[in-house]
């Protein structure tokens, strides 16, 4: 699990975070360089060493993704979506709008469905993330994945990872008690191909099956 667990004193953690950056700030040749963007720009203008500059920008991140622990170094501005797609080569989660307006980027963080495009990766410190790639058990598909195939709950397939992650959570949250409730609680996942009726059927079928997801 993550190196920094909940057991660790939070203030100490803050101090460490704060001072890690301060340390980097102070310890290099570029003593005068503060890590605020205008100063950064100035540094860039003066043609200072980019690699050293890069060093300043990142923060440690301990995160578990699909059961695998990672110790990473990320810029605070990196979203969870871009982290998993670009840096961890998990392209199953899709970018549809990058502004929390379509649901294609839905993943589970500690079991809850959230939008990874509006989640700063650093805020997922110590958390468990599940993406579409983490659902199947080897060759054996998750019941929701099977239901989507059975009911043809997709066409182009682009929104599908988000729909499936959302559908699973919808059942877990207790919001799949009727077709109308499923429709309402799945309205945060846009499907331009219009596969909605089949998506609803797939989720209703899995709910009926009664398995714990």
């Amino acid at each position: 699990m993550a190196k920094k667990g909940s057991g660790q004193n939070q203030a100490e953690e803050n101090y460490l975070n704060e001072s890690r950056r301060n340390f980097f700030k102070q310890s290099s040749l570029l003593t005068a360089l503060a890590v605020t963007p205008p100063a950064f720009l100035k540094a860039a203008e003066e043609g200072l060493d980019e690699k050293a500059a890069g060093y300043f920008e990142k923060m440690p991140l301990a995160i578990q993704i699909n059961g695998v622990n990672h110790d990473l170094s990320v810029e605070p501005r990196t979203t969870l979506l871009d982290l998993i797609r670009e840096q961890l080569a998990l392209p199953g989660t899709k970018k549809g709008c990058d502004h929390g307006q379509c649901g294609a980027c839905t993943v589970h963080v500690n079991g809850n469905r959230v939008l990874s495009c509006l989640t700063l990766a650093v805020t997922a410190e110590g958390k468990k993330v599940t993406t579409i790639e983490g659902l199947a058990d080897g060759e054996k598909l998750h019941p929701m994945q099977e239901a989507f195939i059975k009911y043809d709950g997709f066409q182009c397939g682009y929104c599908t990872p988000g729909q499936i992650m959302s559908g699973i959570a919808c059942i877990r949250e207790g919001h799949a008690n009727s077709d109308d409730e499923i429709r309402e609680y799945m309205s945060g996942n846009i499907c331009r191909c219009g596969a909605y009726p089949n998506i609803v059927k797939a989720i209703a079928d899995v709910k009926k099956g009664g398995q714990t997801l």
């Binding site: 860039a44 970018k95 990058d98 502004h99 993406t131 043809d152 331009r192 009726p197």
Partner: protein, 743 residues
């Protein structure tokens, strides 16, 4: 290339999608899902004015930002050879000259790409792009069609000349007259996948591109033409496409920009458009003003039909649509005339959007027909039947097949059309007014040209290959179905490979022609392969020697004799007999002259029940029945999904889609998915998608017409007509939002 093999255990009629597993596990790779070593990230800088010139672009600050590898703009853009010779590299399907990216300082539309910034991370590229400083000489732009209709012109070319059959404007002398104007605002495709391109060069003259396109070969051609490269040196990979709906029918300037960027820095470059850029850089359904004038007898027989339309295009290309064509063939009316004009505005060029002109025109026509039905006090269904065109009234040719009357009947029954109270504003449920409406449509069913290669392997399995894409309809699945039936092999032993420009040439996926075109090619190549196998097994010394080829039966991987089923040869053994590891046939397939003898169209009818809230004006779709005559239905599952998908796009068109521009600036104000509304799950009830499923005997060997677009042609009218029936209010400007019902 994408390789699809059927893994399920269903009967042939309703195959699960062969790419289903890939899609539900996240394994399906779209255009930017491959992380290539050394990948760099590109971001476009856009013009903030709609018309004028760039006075100055200052990239100094941006250039010094961390991680920036290059910035290309008109001041330093490397030559694009195809541009220099004055050709049209990214050939527009319509008139004019395509916009040449980074070639000069002229601004044609707000959002025009004026620079591309490439950096080593996505975040750095975005940040650096914000540092590019641009000054403009701004001109006053014209983006509002309503204020510029007087500048509309008839598009060039014989297609768009005014059409007259019989007497023009005959409605003026009719006993019963309907004249009504209809407006559809700009709509944007907004497929879920953002348009994107990953490109990398190998030396000076070879390039590989992962691109989001609906036409693998046509994108290859565009890149070849732009950079003057040989076909074998341009590789386009399009394994999966996250929806197109028309936005991927041509190669847009951003693709050329990405390829150019990759050339400049000699590293792989990934360019992903932002969602707002999806409103200006990949086309849109243009705004349309239409006027339908109908003349009829008191019995509702049409005596005159005039369809006028004005739509928009850019100042640099002439985009045209078949907006008024539907009025020419939909009904038997002796006097029909059409007038179609376009206005050049300071916007980017539109393109076809699902249903294109037919969907636009059908909204107006089918609403007007509905208005007529009330004027003559006739059931709207009966009115349509009364004016049914038994032959093509434009060409005076028989239809290859037309089961529109069956569609009417089947649909009316399914929705309970006759149970409704025909009077408008007569049915309530609490505060909700209930209404029923219908709308019909047709769509030209074409067959294009395609080549498919079939390879029978030593284990008796079949591989089919063609350079085609699949943006959602289920190309590989449908082809597997066809091959399974024609070739006599279980679907689990068939693999369909697509999405690779080096495969035999396939069609662009558009105009509802893929099944007809590619399916016919699959049919033809399977037949050709069987012929080859027949020759092999009947010659002297072979397994069924002496048998006549017409006596052979191909089924479930075995060739048997029709007269003696005990004599059978496994496909695998036929391959073995050749002494090589596989048996190949490549077949080129295209239409014959059937189009000279028959008019070939798909037809559909949509029936809708709506509820309209008396106080708030909210419209809810409660029931939908859609019946399509699309010829033989190859795979029920994917076909039903196509039809449903069309209906959902029709719900969007009818009730909510509207790309709003602030004409003071020539810029969209709702260019995002929160403010531009496409239907969400709660907007969509259960949809009854029904088919006549009778093969067309003439269009092609498989009897399939087109389905993708007939699915939404006429739907918006069905909704508008239902709203009228519910409330007595006729809304002629889409979308039908609550405020329009409050007036």
């Amino acid at each position: 290339m994408a390789t699809h093999q059927y893994l399920g255990g269903q009967p042939d009629e309703a195959l699960d999608r062969v790419d289903g597993r890939q899609k539900v596990t996240g394994a399906a790779k779209y255009s930017v899902d491959d992380i290539l070593p050394g990948l760099t990230y590109a971001v476009l800088v856009e013009s903030t004015i709609a018309k004028g010139h760039i006075k100055k672009i200052d990239t100094k600050k941006a250039q010094s930002a961390p991680g920036v590898l290059a910035i290309i703009y008109h001041g330093n853009a490397p030559a694009i050879p195809g541009y220099e010779t004055g050709g049209n590299p990214a050939k527009p399907p319509t008139g004019g000259e395509p916009f040449r990216v980074f070639q000069n300082t002229q601004i044609y539309f707000a959002g025009q790409p004026i620079a591309i910034v490439i950096a080593d991370t996505y975040e750095r590229a975005i940040y650096a792009a914000t540092l590019v400083e641009t000054e403009y000489n701004k001109d006053d732009q014209r983006t509002d069609i309503e204020g510029n209709k007087d500048k509309a012109v008839v598009p060039k070319g014989p297609r768009y000349a005014d059409y007259i059959r019989g007497e023009a404007d005959a409605y003026k002398n009719s006993v019963i007259k309907i004249e009504a104007e209809y407006i559809i605002p700009v709509e944007v495709h907004n497929p879920m996948e953002l348009h994107a391109t990953t490109a990398f060069w190998d030396g000076e003259d070879k390039v590989t591109v992962f691109d989001k396109t609906q036409g693998v070969k046509s994108t290859q051609r565009s890149i070849m033409d732009a950079f003057k490269l040989k076909e074998q040196n341009v590789q386009v990979n399009t394994d999966f496409v996250g929806g197109g709906f028309g936005s991927g029918l041509r190669t847009w300037p951003h693709v050329i920009a990405a390829v150019l960027a990759a050339k400049k820095i000699n590293k792989p470059v990934k360019l992903v458009l932002t969602r707002p850029q999806m409103f200006t850089m990949v086309g849109y359904r243009p705004y349309s003003w239409q006027k339908i004038s109908l003349g009829a007898t008191r019995d509702g027989v049409l005596t005159g039909l005039t369809h006028e339309a004005i739509s928009e295009t850019s100042t640099y290309e002439e985009f045209t649509d078949r907006t008024v064509d539907i009025s020419k063939v939909m009904y038997a009316c002796p006097n029909v005339n059409t007038r179609y004009k376009i206005v050049a505005l300071d916007k980017s060029t539109p393109t076809w959007m699902r249903g294109p002109g037919e969907a636009t025109g059908a909204y107006a026509l089918e609403c007007a027909i509905d208005e007529l039905s009330y004027a003559v006090n006739l059931d709207p269904l009966e009115l349509r039947i009364r004016n049914h065109a038994d032959v093509d009234p434009v060409r005076n040719l028989p239809w290859s097949s037309k089961y529109l009357k069956e569609c009417y009947q089947k649909g009316a029954e399914a929705i309970g059309w006759n149970k409704r109270n025909p009077k408008p504003n007569s049915m309530q449920e609490g505060e909700w007014q209930l209404g029923y409406g219908m709308g019909a449509g047709n769509f030209n069913a074409n067959r294009g040209r395609a080549t498919v290669k079939a390879t029978l392997l030593a284990d008796g399995s079949l591989v089919l290959q063609s350079a085609v894409s699949d943006s959602g309809p289920g190309t590989a699945t449908t082809m597997t179905s066809i091959a399974s039936n024609v070739f006599g092999l279980s679907p689990g032993k068939i693999t369909f490979e697509l999405g690779d420009s080096s495969l035999p040439p396939g069609p662009t996926q558009g105009g509802s022609t893929t099944t007809s075109t590619l399916g016919s090619a699959v049919h033809d190549v399977c037949v050709a392969l069987q012929q080859k196998m027949a020759e092999l097994v009947t010659i002297q010394g072979s397994l069924l020697q002496g048998a006549k080829p017409e006596n052979l039966h191909f089924e479930k991987g075995y060739i048997t004799l029709k007269t003696d089923a005990s004599k059978k040869v496994a496909y695998a053994d036929v391959v073995k007999q050749t002494g090589s590891s596989q048996l190949e046939v490549t077949k080129d397939s295209q239409a014959g002259d059937e189009r000279n003898k028959y008019s070939i169209y798909s037809f559909a009818v949509h029936f809708v029940q709506v509820q309209v809230h008396r106080l708030t004006g909210v419209v809810r779709i409660k029931k939908v029945v859609t019946v399509a005559d699309a010829g033989k239905i190859i795979n029920e599952k994917t076909a039903a999904s196509q039809l449903m998908g069309g209906v959902v796009s029709g719900i969007g068109m009818a009730l909510m889609e509207d790309a709003v521009m602030d004409h003071r600036f020539g810029r969209y104000v709702n260019n995002n998915l929160a403010d531009y509304h496409v239907p969400v799950s709660a907007d969509v009830p259960d949809i009854k998608a029904l088919f006549i499923d009778k093969p067309d005997p003439f269009i092609n060997p498989i009897g399939s017409k087109g389905l993708g677009e007939i699915a939404n042609v006429g739907f918006a009218a069905a909704v508008a007509n239902a709203v009228y029936h519910a409330t007595g209010k006729r809304i002629r400007t889409l979308p039908i939002t609550p405020d329009k019902l409050l007036r």
